[in-house]
């Protein structure tokens, strides 16, 4: 495994992607052992940081400690390393100790956004959701452009079924990153959970509009990934409208429901799209009834 390719792969790593932690660690560890990180400049040091995070994800505290020592030697008093030290503390120390540590960091530099966010996350892990929301909201009021903070807030709200608040947090994330279809999908799914079916439908269709391949004839394409999920959402919504007519008028955001003609066309189209996807993914003809189709497609999406 050569250095540049592992660096390239590692630079794509985000701390949130836990499933890839092992891969990150496997690539980062030889780099750490060989000591080559120092020679590649900033990118190498960033790799060490990511290796530390991945090691913490996997509970390999000794590796994380080694990374931390290397980083602390190179960047004394860096807020980023201090925050990483805090994350390392969270692994073994009591939450109160960590809170005190972050409070100390914020005392010396009240504008340390990452320490502030970690503090909210510690509160969340302790189960004190009210404190976590309070801290996170205060932080986002100051550092508005932190998309991940907004997503975290939305996640906290939806974990306790406050879907309307979650939608509000997500709308800020959408404003900050209007080009990201995944946030739209999350917004649509949250709106569906909140019972705002017309809004959810519009958002699902927006995701479809954003993600399908414009270059080729759209009818020939096979929906995959996020587009497939969005089509599934569209079909969920149309089915809700058909079975439960009250869903059309119960929109908290006053979104108008589609007309009956549009609805039936959309219903047909979404079924046709889902069938195409199923046929191509499984190589067998899809079930004919709607409910069966929905349940089999649900298994592909998972």
């Amino acid at each position: 495994m050569d250095l540049t390719s592992s660096l390239q792969r590692l630079s794509a790593h985000r701390p949130q992607q836990r499933q890839r932690a092992q891969e990150t660690l496997d690539r980062g560890l030889p780099l750490l052992n060989s000591g080559k990180y120092a020679r590649t400049g900033d990118e190498g040091w960033e790799t060490v940081e990511k290796t530390a995070l991945a090691a913490l994800d996997l509970g390999q505290l000794d590796v994380a400690d080694r990374c931390l020592r290397v980083l602390a030697d190179k960047f004394p008093a860096s807020p980023r390393v201090e925050c990483l030290t805090g994350i390392r503390m969270e692994a073994t120390e009591s939450p109160d100790m960590c809170l005190k540590y972050y409070d100390d960091l914020l005392e010396t530099d009240s504008s340390n956004a990452s320490a502030w966010r970690r503090k909210a996350i510690v509160y969340r892990n302790m189960g004190k959701l009210d404190k976590a929301v309070e801290e996170l909201s205060a932080m986002l009021d100051t550092f508005y452009a932190d998309v991940e903070g907004w997503l975290e807030l939305a996640d906290i709200y939806s974990s306790c079924q406050h879907y309307t608040h979650s939608l509000q947090a997500l709308s800020h994330a959408l404003l900050l990153a209007p080009q990201n279809p995944f946030y739209f999908l999350q917004f649509a799914e949250t709106a569906y959970l909140a019972g705002d079916i017309p809004l959810a439908m519009k958002m699902y269709l927006t995701v479809v509009d954003m993600t399908d391949d414009d270059d080729t004839d759209v009818l020939d394409t096979i929906p995959t990934g996020i587009t497939l999920r969005a089509w599934y959402g569209v079909m969920l919504c149309t089915q809700r409208f058909i079975t439960d007519p009250r869903a059309a008028s119960s929109s908290a955001s006053n979104t108008p429901a589609p007309s009956t003609a549009t609805l039936s066309k959309l219903d047909d189209l979404s079924k046709e799209r889902l069938r195409t996807a199923y046929l191509n993914l499984k190589n067998e003809s899809p079930p004919t009834t709607d409910s069966e189709l929905m349940s089999v497609v649900a298994t592909i999406i998972q």
């Binding site: 504008s111 550092f143 508005y144 509000q168 404003l175 519009k202 509009d209 589609p258």
Partner: protein, 269 residues
């Protein structure tokens, strides 16, 4: 005019003991200067939380306004955010020192010379200037004292008379060929020409090149003064931003407004 047959003969000792030392000393001083400037640089000043909040409040409404014509969020959400911001700007919620108590109470602009924050910025600029000026003055004095009137090198290509003042500074001969370069001119050629070499040695954003500072003396201080000297009246900016918000609200249209028709048309239904 010079005759090509009659030529000067330069002692190789001049090459070894004058030309090379001048070049080497200038390179080394540049590298040294880079590291001294690095040492002199203060870490960026920590800004208190309330001040950051005040500075970034405008960005919030700018982000909202930037997307308003093709807004990703539904009308009710847009309106609530927009009106909340507008109200907050009116009430002065985001102001660093809290909402203003009295309309007549205007914050006085502090004198930049007494404001310690502004002084810091100016001092930093001055320090860098000093690190540039002092070694260059010493080198120039050294060359003038020891090597005045030396001819150091002959350029391998012919030049017109216009270059005489550039290449033969310090030698007052009307008849010498323009290709001969004097010691003082060699100093100036190095002074302006070594930047490429520094970029190779020290990387792109080095502070070794003194000719760049030379072009804009006291530029750092001049750049800093409009910001430091006149503190932004955020209250006034916020009031102005309210009009912009109202205007953007008029432009607002939801990107998903007729997405059904768009998708159906795209799929030929």
């Amino acid at each position: 005019m010079s005759n090509s047959n009659v030529s000067l003969y330069l002692d190789p000792q001049i090459r070894d003991w004058v030309l090379f030392p001048i070049t080497l000393v200038m390179i080394l001083v540049g590298v040294l200067r880079h590291y001294v400037v690095l040492l002199l640089q203060n870490p960026p000043k920590k800004v208190p939380r309330a001040a950051i909040r005040e500075q970034r409040a405008l960005v919030r409404s700018q982000i909202l306004r930037a997307t308003s014509a093709e807004s990703p969020i539904p009308p009710t959400y847009y309106k609530s955010i927009s009106q909340h911001l507008s109200q907050a700007f009116l009430d002065g919620t985001y102001l660093k020192d809290g909402p203003p108590k009295d309309e007549s109470e205007k914050p006085k602009a502090p004198n930049p010379l007494t404001d310690p924050a502004a002084m810091d910025g100016m001092m930093a600029g001055m320090k860098t200037q000093m690190v540039m000026m002092v070694p260059q003055m010493i080198i120039m004095g050294w060359i003038n004292f020891f090597f005045q009137g030396f001819v150091l090198i002959k350029l391998p290509f012919p030049l017109t008379l216009g270059f005489k003042s550039m290449l033969q500074r310090g030698i007052a001969t009307p008849d010498m060929d323009v290709r001969w370069v004097s010691s003082l001119s060699w100093y100036f050629l190095n002074f302006f020409g070594l930047n490429g070499l520094y970029r190779l040695i020290l990387g792109g954003d080095n502070s070794a090149d003194s000719s760049r500072d030379m072009n804009t003396p006291f530029a750092a201080a001049a750049m800093a003064s409009p910001q430091a000297g006149q503190p932004q009246d955020y209250n006034k900016l916020f009031k102005a931003e309210r009009d912009n918000l109202e205007f953007a609200e008029g432009l607002y249209s939801w990107v998903a407004k007729d997405v059904e028709a768009r998708v159906l048309k795209k799929y030929g239904r």
